[in-house]
Symmetry: D2
Subunit: 363 residues, 4 copies
């Protein structure tokens, strides 16, 4: 299976960038969950191209149409399918790419994998457009989780070396999460956000692109969610997050910084708080111990490479004739995928959390 | 499922630290593959406690006994089960831990997850001992891969801020990989390795522990292995690697550093080499594009937190009585898990690669 | 998962009888397989309501629209999604059923399963209409198999006690299979077929319905396809066939008759034929031994209950008010589902065979 | 995967008839379930060879040893592994079979499937001995179900044409189920049982064997268990039951007889009983509608072919030299597998039911 993820919920994503439609089937959702379509559209709008110069000028309505699984605005429990029509393809933009491997893209690897039969137009099934159905699924999961008090939010932590401040891993509130979602350019420190926007625009003007990091937090996840070894929250979240194109790394809690720490620094001491809950003062463990939630916020960071589509001439190969060539990529491309990736990371985390919540006796 | 991983191969790990045995079932291996038991034991010996002061003094032979799936030293194609007896448990070492949550451990989260019924002795199913069956599985997979020219090696890249040099992501050879496996303390730069050993020993003497990073490389992986979206090599490797206790992050290629780069720096230009192969000059993409191998070495780094078991007194809770307490952990513990984690990372990568190779028409 | 089947291929079926559309996603098909849309439509037409009185007068074009996974009429290898619009619903036909459990239907069990939130109109996701996407998937699989010489055909073996003759389990030819597919009412003995049609029409006139048996055969399946224990051909075929509503039994080879036989009668002796192939003279084993194909034709029979929707008044309950009631089912219904079930059984067998063929080294 | 079954619970069976051991891993059992080892041994004893002449004289203690997953006699929730040593192999009994395909066995198909590398001694992984771990798993599942009032029992319905009476599909009681389990030869009508025993013994004396049917019933299964399409109770039970060697058919409720019925006969009318429960007067549907339990007893019948190992000379092939040969099978074999298959069918049903119960909110 390539585009299927399964843990209690079966998530099957389909579609190509320039085919008739893309979409998703979500099987085994709990029944009777109200889905607010306006809230869902707002979630998906955060993934849509930005009106400023930081993203592609390709415009699509990306209105998901529900084909099944929703009745009187409530989940039926049977498979939920959503379809997103492709309405704004400019296939001829890509016509000169047909046999040239765009550096940093899956053109060459996809052609080898599928013996050249995959639909390469606009990246085909490898296109970033396939994150739209992921966001749909994540938005649905998010609404089900929020009804149980669990809120997930994400922001841009870094763009091309310019850093935002981090979420407080212990005290981040529901209001802070809601606030960050409202922002056109989601950083905690707007001043740093403006520097990032300038940097992205500059990269775009220079026919270049930039990478960055998204930080994500989930609050009010009850303790005891997840399983040991291969079905821990970290495994599940990672296996979904690497489904977003351009992701090159993921870390939980202090992440790679733990390599510089002593155990006495890194261990989060437990205490019983004033409500009688077992909590930790610090949260280096990112809310997960042994794959299972501790009750502390779940925190993670995801690294995104710079958009591989850049308009500069690049050396590459024609993988059909096996000759060395130069490529100049036309078409509309984000000089930075990170702003639009923010809801994608949230979506992946929502799906993982909901899928593990379904193991929970009193869900 | 908790301890089951499945992609073409079904890997089911079982056992608790202080039960009769731990082990693994590998279902759907190719048949007719010769398994060299001596080489397999050598692989597993690299995970065994070191004779120096960098690891626990607990000694176990950890000889895997094959229960099924091997006949005349060749895989039968039917399920391969290996059992490792637990012979050196000192359960009373853990007797005072029964209701106290060791900070950084899964005692509390496991108790919530399993309503207190899990076997908590020595961490039970959450114990680092469960990496022994993972190494067994990875060693078997590795032998099958090496017969096809694919070699995977790993080394300690960093311990508590002390850094080794990195693998050359383009030119690392089979001999270099074989060499690093022979080392008692696998670093590329032995001088840095000695500094690390001293640092680990010092941490041990201070009743503390240290974290670090393992870097791994796989060479000669043919182009076209892996699948898009959720079944990419990155997803599969990550979902296995987070099955190793203490892992807090994973990155591929340049990983988190891509957040500081321009697209023009990060993109690896393709060219046709003197053998007519499509290759790249640099390897920032870590041998994976769109989830699929490019033919370049697959490179990744894994962050390990400091051993949570430290002998210093630590504040914690009794999660039964919900009272604040102090814990002093006795027993034998590695002041750093990283040296013993090196073959575990290799094992995870081997299993992921073999599982995806089985999709390959001419495997 | 409810509506997902997975063995190498991931098959996800979605939709409700009276929603906007039903459909299917097929993930992990081999790439580069030509799909003949005319042949595919012919396959699906065999499932469509018959023009005579043996089936519902509901008319739907049931034209599948390909959303993804097909490019230049060849499979891309990435997920293939087909959508079938629902265009001919008469929801008000069902308006009086809302809280009355139709006997023999899943109204009551579905309502309990989904706490009343499932879309009950026309049976919702439990509707026989959901066999249309199954047929689509089976038709695709069938074309891929036929290119490799494997042909699957089915016929009506029995309707309400009236029997057709059986396929020859050893000698049935490709031409016989092609011939039976062309028939409007697929029986081997047309005289018996006419008796069946009369019986079905009579049942319809009496506001009643009848059950029957479909027999299926697959020829030229190479030896060695399938796996032991839970992934045998029998397990896979059965798990798909029970996905067709109204199926109450399945048997392979001589099936239940083996309960009356001696081992010396039932065992099929092997011999080497004039082409040097290992074959058996008889085929009581139905082409499967130990879950694995023997090279002999795969044979099976599937029992279908009489259509539960009958227009006679029936005693039942209102499962909302928990009162005893009488129901009179309106709407258009087949007095016998068996004729339209014939391609559904073929489809299930095709999917199972293709999925196991993908394990085969030289597929 | 071959020997792995997965639905909420992951069941992995391993071992070969003449290897060191066979066994099973059960992952994702609920935690805290008390397992009575004596009751478990009694369950498994019902599968053991009978002391009379109806079964093989091979004697094995078949004592399962728990390797993990049980602590203080309660399930931990982490993987439960049980091992059964092979202690009574007479491998030389099989020495003359090495290249001759025993008719009705998987020798030839297994050799093709695994390119000759599978362990063929005593059938290897295809041996009926592999039903011992299935029974272990089913006995564990059964104890968990019985604690919730759900009882499953089975009996021999037919041997070589000699018939027992059937379970009452509506009124069968817990006591009747318990009673039938106590019987050395489980028939409802002991007189018919004695005729069957005589017939089996006669077949044995004639160097022949006989087939039969097992009937199974589960009572007190709550309504609402199971899912539509591919995850119905029928699909799950069938996919497990075909994991028992020699099974050639399965039917639910009236099964194949529905092919002779009218809808008005077959439909089970609902009514509200004196306790306010929705029930049906008849139970032709076998307790399952749309894949989901109705609250009525779940009933099914399973057909077993005559033991293929018969001591008469049989024509066959040497599949290595591709020559026609005659085989005379030595060794110890049951002239009828049906008596020992009774608990195997119960086991399969228990596993399916428990796995679907785990979807249930208030399990």
């Amino acid at each position: 299976m390539a585009s299927v993820w399964n843990h209690n919920i079966n998530l099957s994503i389909f579609g190509e960038s320039h085919g008739p439609a893309i979409g998703v089937v979500l099987d085994n959702l709990p029944s009777g969950e109200h889905i607010d379509m306006n809230a869902l559209m707002s979630f998906m709008a955060r993934r849509a191209p930005k009106k400023n110069k930081t993203s592609t000028q390709r415009r699509e309505k990306d209105m998901p149409q529900i084909m099944s699984g929703l009745y009187n605005d409530k989940t039926t429990g049977t498979p939920l399918c959503a379809l997103i029509q492709n309405t704004d393809q400019h296939s001829n933009d890509y016509s000169n790419l047909s046999k040239l491997a765009r550096p940093g893209h899956a053109d060459y690897t996809g052609a080898v994998r599928y013996s050249g039969f995959n639909d390469g137009r606009g990246g085909g099934h490898f296109s970033g457009r396939l994150t739209a159905p992921l966001c749909f699924a994540g938005a649905v999961a998010g609404q089900i989780l929020e009804r149980r008090g669990i809120y997930t939010g994400a922001h841009i932590l870094e763009i091309h070396g310019i850093k935002d401040k981090s979420f407080d891993p212990v005290k981040t509130s529901r209001d802070e999460i809601k606030q960050i979602r409202e922002k056109e350019f989601p950083t905690l420190d707007d001043k740093q956000g403006r520097l990032m926007i300038k940097d992205i625009e500059k990269a775009g003007k220079c026919l270049d692109s930039v990478g960055g990091i998204v930080e994500c937090i989930s609050i009010n996840v009850p303790a005891g969610i997840g399983s040991p070894i291969f079905e821990g929250l970290e495994n599940s979240i990672a296996s979904l997050v690497f489904g977003i194109p351009a992701v090159k790394g993921i870390e939980f809690g202090v992440g790679f910084n733990c390599a510089k720490m002593l155990g006495s620094e890194n261990n989060d001491e437990f205490y019983v708080d004033e409500h009688g809950h077992v909590v930790t003062r610090s949260n280096n463990h990112g809310g997960i111990l042994g794959g299972i939630s501790s009750g502390m916020p779940v925190t993670l960071r995801v690294a995104f490479k710079p958009t591989p589509s850049i308009a500069q001439p690049q050396k590459t190969v024609d993988y059909s004739s096996l000759t060395n060539e130069t490529i100049k990529i036309k078409g509309r491309h984000d000089p930075c995928v990170v702003p639009r990736a923010v809801p994608c990371v949230e979506a992946a985390v929502n799906i993982a959390l909901l899928s593990h919540m379904l193991d929970y006796p009193n869900f």
